[in-house]
């Protein structure tokens, strides 16, 4: 499959809008995840309070990230884990490769890890003659298909059962079946053989607890448990933002993450790993390595708006709720991280000049912000990045007074944007597409955003039917911005 890039979001999105099979596959998302999430959050007394708390914990951690990371490292090392630091993806890959080679391993089993995807670890391993075997069902499917994930929680969401069955026929050699149980049982049988021979397991990390040096990984399938318990060496790749201060903080995040992501009270398994076994006879790896990776993250600390990006717990709720994602799927974003969160972190990770369209790949309807368990203000981030693109301040020094002034302006614009979208806030779910359409017509008139999403409209019959939305006199980005400033007083 040809790899799409973030630079061509508009083309990618248009192609996706014309793909009826993709729409069939994506329909499940809204029907399933959105409803399940709503039911699951109803089982918590004070959902709002929980979100506030989570955000406060993240903010506290990020404001003292150097201290919490050092504490995490100290405690993890005390428990016997080996810590490695990687400035960027290339260094992280090299560390992993060296560790695999130390074991003389030619193959590794991998548990789904967005950090691993971010640094293209599989390709790096292959280049070094090491075979990476993805073991999460969705990841394995897309690995067999030679594709990339299109969702951060359910990587193969863009595929229908029929397409997956065809992949199994071609790559695994089973009879064609539309029985999901047969497909999963086949996966179990084949991957068990790989688990049996694997000496090295590679995983990601959901949370790293500073106070205890524990890493926690959540899952439903059991492949992470197998990856981290059957092998002799466990390597965990962890973004530096994954650290949280206290063990008790897990209570907050374990209530939020599964409910937001899959609509479960708790996923089937959590592995809490604190260092390495003390008794050689015990099950479990002989050595545990944690690769702490920056790869552009520390830079996001340089501004309160971008800093929020690091609070993300990768639940995927913003993808599921996003009317744009629901229509175009994950691949259109041309990035490992798709959807609203992808639209804000991709430009920061790969450089804004390579992903200029992504901050415009949104109607600012606010659905993402509303569902985010850690209350990341994604619309604010999108506007911030748009302002950087418009003003050419991207990459400028954070201490520049001129930039500070512009920042105040962009905030004012944000306020304006809020008031302006307020009248269309009917809520989420089925109405989202309608809100989107209205906002698109209006958003379509704003400076560089113009055209981009508006162009997406014509192929969509359902949307064009709603084109009775109030039209707005065309005004420039500047004018609207100024207007916003005036209202601000």
């Amino acid at each position: 499959m040809q790899q799409l890039t973030a630079e061509t979001f508009d083309q990618n999105a248009r192609a996706a809008l014309n793909d009826p099979v993709l729409h069939g596959a994506l329909r499940n998302l809204a029907d399933n995840f959105v409803t399940r999430r709503q039911n699951a959050i109803a089982s918590v007394d004070d959902w709002e309070g929980l979100r506030e708390k989570a955000r406060a914990i993240k903010e506290e951690t990020l404001l003292h990230l150097d201290e919490y990371l050092s504490q995490f490292v100290e405690n993890a090392e005390k428990a016997g884990a080996k810590i490695h630091w990687a400035r960027d993806g290339k260094e992280a890959c090299q560390i992993v490769i060296d560790l695999v080679k130390n074991r003389d391993a030619r193959m590794v089993v991998k548990a789904k890890s967005m950090a691993g995807e971010e640094i293209h670890l599989n390709e790096a391993l292959e280049r070094s003659g090491i075979e990476p075997v993805e073991t999460d069902l969705g990841e394995w499917i897309i690995q067999l298909a030679g594709e990339t994930p299109s969702h951060i929680v359910v990587p193969a969401i863009h595929k229908t059962k029929e397409q997956i069955a065809d992949i199994f026929v071609e790559k695994v050699g089973i009879e064609k079946t539309d029985n999901v149980d047969v497909l999963t049982k086949t996966t179990r049988r084949i991957l068990r053989e790989r688990f049996a021979e694997a000496e090295v397991g590679i995983s990601g990390v959901n949370f790293g607890v500073a106070e205890t040096g524990t890493i926690l990984i959540l899952e439903n399938e059991g492949n992470i448990r197998l990856t981290t318990s059957l092998t002799k060496t466990h390597i965990a790749v962890m973004g530096i933002e994954k650290v949280i201060p206290k063990f008790a903080d897990l209570d907050v995040f374990l209530k939020l993450l599964p409910r937001s992501g899959t609509g479960q009270r708790l996923t089937a398994y959590q592995s809490l790993i604190t260092g390495v076994k003390k008794n050689a006879a015990d099950a479990g790896p002989e050595d545990v390595h944690i690769v702490l990776m920056d790869n552009g993250r520390s830079r996001m600390l340089g501004h309160p708006v971008t800093r929020q990006s690091l609070a993300c717990i990768r639940c995927g709720a913003c993808l599921n709720a996003c009317p744009v994602y629901q229509q175009v799927g994950g691949h259109a974003y041309g990035s490992v991280y798709p959807g609203p969160i992808g639209a804000v972190i991709t430009p920061q990770l790969i450089g804004i000049s390579k992903a200029k369209q992504l901050p415009y790949a949104s109607s600012l309807c606010g659905a993402c912000k509303e569902v985010c368990p850690v209350k990341i203000d994604i619309p604010e981030l999108l506007l911030h990045l748009r302002a950087e693109i418009t003003d050419g301040t991207a990459g400028g020094s954070a201490n520049n007074p001129e930039r500070k002034r512009r920042f105040a302006e962009s905030l004012a614009f944000k306020m304006y944007g809020k008031a302006w979208s307020g009248q269309f806030s009917y809520g989420l779910g089925t109405k989202a597409a309608r809100i989107m359409q209205k906002l698109v017509v209006r958003d379509g008139k704003i400076g560089k955003a113009s055209g981009l999403i508006a162009k997406l409209l014509p192929p969509l019959g359902a949307w064009t039917a709603w084109r009775d939305a109030p039209a707005v006199a065309p005004r420039s980005f500047r004018e609207q911005w100024k207007d916003g400033l005036d209202k601000q007083g």
Binding site: L137, T160, L230, D251, V252, L254, A268, L272, T274, F407
Partner: protein, 223 residues
């Protein structure tokens, strides 16, 4: 030459410092965005008013499709274990080194049990029997501490996992269990909530993809 650690910590500090002037402006405009007040104790959800830990665990377990039984004592537990073995026709059975497991299978003579099973044995086995150190009623979760019992693989690799649980080990909330376990964290602790599952194909639920496809919990009410 600086190390990667120094560079990363240095970059964190530099960017945090650079953010300072913006932080104030942002707070002002955003109407006091989450001040960093951190107190993680969550309000106790008043589960105790609704039911005993055992009752609540039972209702959570049944929601999750866990095969849940309560035994009055070890003798009853043994009968329940035997009926599970018979129903699934288990022949190769791995057991952990738990005292509770040993007591519960003592009287079962129809099959053999394998202690300290090798990985090879586990891969071909039909059933794994373990106990659990704690359980969480609000979520129907078993808590397995690897340093107390050798159940890390026995609870994972066989297609069916049977767990014997002392009723006194059930706590109402996740928060309570986190507090109880934090003091002496071993190298691995696993929370198990139901059978292995996936929704990766069209979000259709499928059970038993990598871990056990069946989870049985037998609670000993007298312990």
């Amino acid at each position: 030459m600086t190390t990667a650690r120094e560079d990363i910590i240095g970059s964190i500090r530099r960017h945090l410092a650079a953010s300072k002037p913006f932080d104030a402006v942002h707070r002002e405009h955003a109407g006091g965005q989450a001040e960093a007040v951190v107190n993680t104790a969550l309000p106790a959800e008043n589960l105790a008013d609704v039911g005993t830990p055992l009752d609540n665990f039972g209702s959570s377990a049944s929601l999750l499709g866990i095969h849940f039984e309560v035994a009055a004592n070890v003798r009853e537990a043994a009968a329940l274990v035997e009926s599970v073995i018979n129903r699934i026709g288990a022949k190769d059975i791995a057991i952990s080194d738990s005292e509770l497991v040993a007591e519960s299978i003592e009287t079962i003579e129809t099959v053999e049990f394998t202690r300290d099973a090798s990985t090879e044995f586990l891969f071909g086995s039909d059933l794994g029997i373990t106990s659990a150190q704690w359980a969480i009623a609000e979520t129907g979760t078993l808590v397995l501490e690897a340093e107390s019992e050798n159940h890390r693989l026995i609870s994972l690799v066989p297609p069916v996992h049977l767990c014997l649980l002392e009723a006194s080990k059930i706590r109402q909330t996740l928060g309570e269990v986190l507090t109880l376990t934090q003091g002496n964290l071993g190298h691995a602790m696993t929370f198990v909530t139901g059978a292995s599952r996936t929704s990766d194909i069209e979000l259709t639920l499928a059970i038993g993809v990598h871990g056990p496809g069946e989870l049985h919990v037998i609670v000993l009410a007298d312990r």
